[in-house]
């Protein structure tokens, strides 16, 4: 079956669909939220922007 947003996983949910579901519903939000925290750290703790850009790029 095709899992569409808003539908409940059916009993026939395959391994690929489970991985996709975990990625989309759990890992992606976790990575995004941690990235936001990293950006917050860079903005709050880091050097002024031009030095930050120079260090990164």
């Amino acid at each position: 079956m095709v899992l569409t947003p808003g539908t409940s996983p059916s009993p026939e949910l395959g391994p690929r669909a489970i991985v996709r579901l975990l990625w989309r519903e759990l890992l992606l939000p976790a990575i995004v939220v941690f990235a936001l925290f990293l950006i917050a750290v860079a903005l709050i703790e880091g050097p002024p922007l031009e030095q930050f850009l120079y260090a990164v790029f």
């Binding site: 808003g6 519903e25 939000p29 939220v33 903005l43 260090a55």
Partner: protein
């Protein structure tokens, strides 16, 4: 559909953060009180005290492991009924590390006095919240935390740690950055307690190669020791920096610290004290400021340079001649003539800020046993020190009472000249002076009517408390390096050498203070072979001076690099 998915993702993200916070907190993972404090006590710093369980199973507050610059303290997490809880906030004179066991700090003595003075049914608990090198930024953070710990009184003793808030010191750079971005400070204060934020910060530190440039600054003593050992031996190695201000004319040079830095830091100091007053008032907690004391017979912290603009135009040559003649008369023991000449120097100033000149005049008057004049000169740099005026300014503007222990200090000092019998160095009080500070604070509490029903100054209970304090003082030994320093400044080099010789030669590298004082005393006695032997012993030990040393050849270099640009005369 998209909106609902976004909401769901946000909810999931929030749940992940919450779950991470809960698991990390329960397991003690990324506890900011265990990790090195990246904020050096600045806003966002981890708590100074954290809840732990005592042996009897009750919840207590203990000093956090990463705050070793503060004294270990323990007090009930929930204040017992009847307890009068005081926090003494400040720097190393509050902490008083030299006198830990028994505790010779003024906060401990204040507790003993309060115990005797409080009305029936009340107990005193005075918490020593003094941190080595703490300035007003750190003290403000400590005060914020203390306000959440059920205080009945806050005592703030601001002192020389304020000098660390001047660039290029790392904390000075941080203070300037914080002053420039208040939003960053606020965000740090809110986010730093989150374990998720700590995790992101740790990762960020590992990923990014960028590090803010920090000046490799040395304490005065470490500069003295490094100077002695980083060059080929001469008899002057141990004495040059210690005796820089001994009967010598100060260099004429521009102020090493830009005036704008001083003005900015002074304004910050006043602002921080006023914020303390405002916060205390909001919480309904009384606050007292205390004027910090200094050893008026120590020349270490006195300004040893004169800005050319301070001397009347065209008079520098005359100024120099009179200074040299005055000091020569002083060396010759012709005190009266020295006074005349040195007063002549003073007349050549547009405005007299020459602290070392007042010190030299104090020494001359002392030799003539004109104690009143001697004190007038010795205390001039202390009473005119900017910190006193700034504390007065902040206290007046915010309506906070200021305790002044100095008049009481004069009364216990021989001839009214507090010196090395009262201070273990230039700043730190001996236990006998801690007693004076504690009694002055008690007087301040009484005068401000902070505790109704406080016993009168002559109450028998207070006399008993005083006996306890005096017994405590008699059990506080002065550590060896301080005894050696005291012997040298009193002119008893032989005693300093005897004390230094109690240490085995092969252990001198582990006792760098004692070793340097021993080398100094031997140099003063003209024992070049002995001083060389100490030098060789230190060279052979594992103690190593820093690999790169700033220049310290000229008087100007030494003022800038060993005496921190005479910062102590501003803070």
């Amino acid at each position: 559909m998209r909106a609902s998915r976004l909401i769901r993702s946000i909810a999931v993200a929030a749940c992940i953060v919450l779950a991470f916070e809960a698991v990390a907190r329960l397991s003690g993972f990324l506890d900011p009180t265990d990790l090195p404090d990246p904020y050096l006590g600045f806003p966002g710093t981890s708590p100074l005290y954290r809840v732990e369980t005592s042996d009897d199973g009750t919840a207590v507050m203990r000093r956090s492991p990463n705050k070793s610059m503060y004294r270990p303290q323990e007090f009930a997490a929930e204040k017992p009924a009847g307890e009068f809880r005081v926090f003494c906030i400040g720097g190393s004179s509050v902490r008083l590390d030299l006198f830990r066991d028994p505790d010779g700090s003024f906060s401990n003595m204040l507790e003993l006095y309060l115990q005797g003075a409080l009305p029936e049914g009340r107990t005193a608990r005075v918490i020593n919240a003094g941190g080595g090198g703490a300035g007003s930024v750190h003290n403000l953070e400590t005060l914020r935390e203390a306000l959440d710990l059920q205080p009945d009184l806050l005592v703030v003793y601001p002192e020389g740690g304020e000098k660390n808030l001047i660039p290029p010191a790392p904390q000075g750079l941080m203070a300037r950055a914080d002053d420039a971005s208040p939003a960053r400070v606020l965000a740090r204060r809110w986010l730093a307690p989150l374990r998720t934020y700590v995790a992101a910060r740790e990762l960020y530190d590992r990923l990014l190669p960028f590090h803010a440039s920090t000046a490799n600054l040395m304490s005065a003593f470490s500069a003295f020791a490094s100077y002695a050992l980083s060059r080929p031996f001469t008899p002057e190695n141990f004495s040059r920096l210690f005796e820089l201000k001994h009967d010598r004319v100060p260099p004429v040079m521009p102020h090493p610290i830009p005036a704008e830095e001083i003005t900015h830091a002074h304004a910050r100091f006043v602002r921080n004290l006023e914020t303390m007053a405002e916060l205390a008032r909001e919480h309904g907690v009384p606050l007292l400021f205390v004027y910090p004391l200094r050893n008026i017979k120590a020349s270490f912290y006195l300004r040893f340079h004169v800005d050319p603009s301070e001397i009347e135009p065209g008079k520098i040559a005359e100024w120099h001649r009179l200074y040299e003649e005055g000091l020569q008369s002083k060396r010759d023991g012709d005190w009266a003539r020295a006074i005349v000449k040195l007063r002549g120097v003073r007349r050549l100033y547009v405005e007299d800020h020459d602290e070392i000149l007042a010190f030299y005049l104090g020494e001359c008057f002392e030799q003539l046993q004109r104690w009143g004049s001697a004190r007038e000169e010795y205390e001039k740099p202390y009473l005119q020190h900017p910190m006193r005026a700034l504390i007065t300014e902040a206290a007046t503007q915010s309506g906070v009472p200021v305790v002044d222990p100095y008049p009481h200090l004069i009364k216990i000092a021989a001839h009214g000249l507090p010196g090395y019998d009262e201070f273990s160095d230039s700043f730190h009080p001996m236990p006998s002076v801690s007693r004076i500070i504690a009694r002055s604070i008690l007087d301040g509490i009484r005068a401000s009517d902070i505790v109704p029903g406080l016993a009168a100054a002559d109450a028998p209970a207070l006399a008993s408390a005083d006996q306890l304090v005096l017994r405590l003082i008699s059990r506080c030994p002065l550590p060896l390096p301080n005894r050696m320093n005291l012997a040298i400044v009193s002119g008893d080099n032989q005693e300093a050498i005897r004390l230094g010789r109690t240490l085995p030669r092969e252990e001198l590298g582990d006792h760098i203070f004692e070793a340097i004082y021993l080398g100094w005393a031997l140099s003063r006695e003209g024992d070049v072979a002995g001083a060389r032997d100490v030098y060789d012993a230190l060279k052979a030990s594992s103690w190593r001076p820093p690999s790169s040393l700033p220049p310290m050849e000229t008087d100007e270099d030494i003022v800038i690099n060993a005496y921190g640009g005479d910062l102590f005369s501003w803070f």
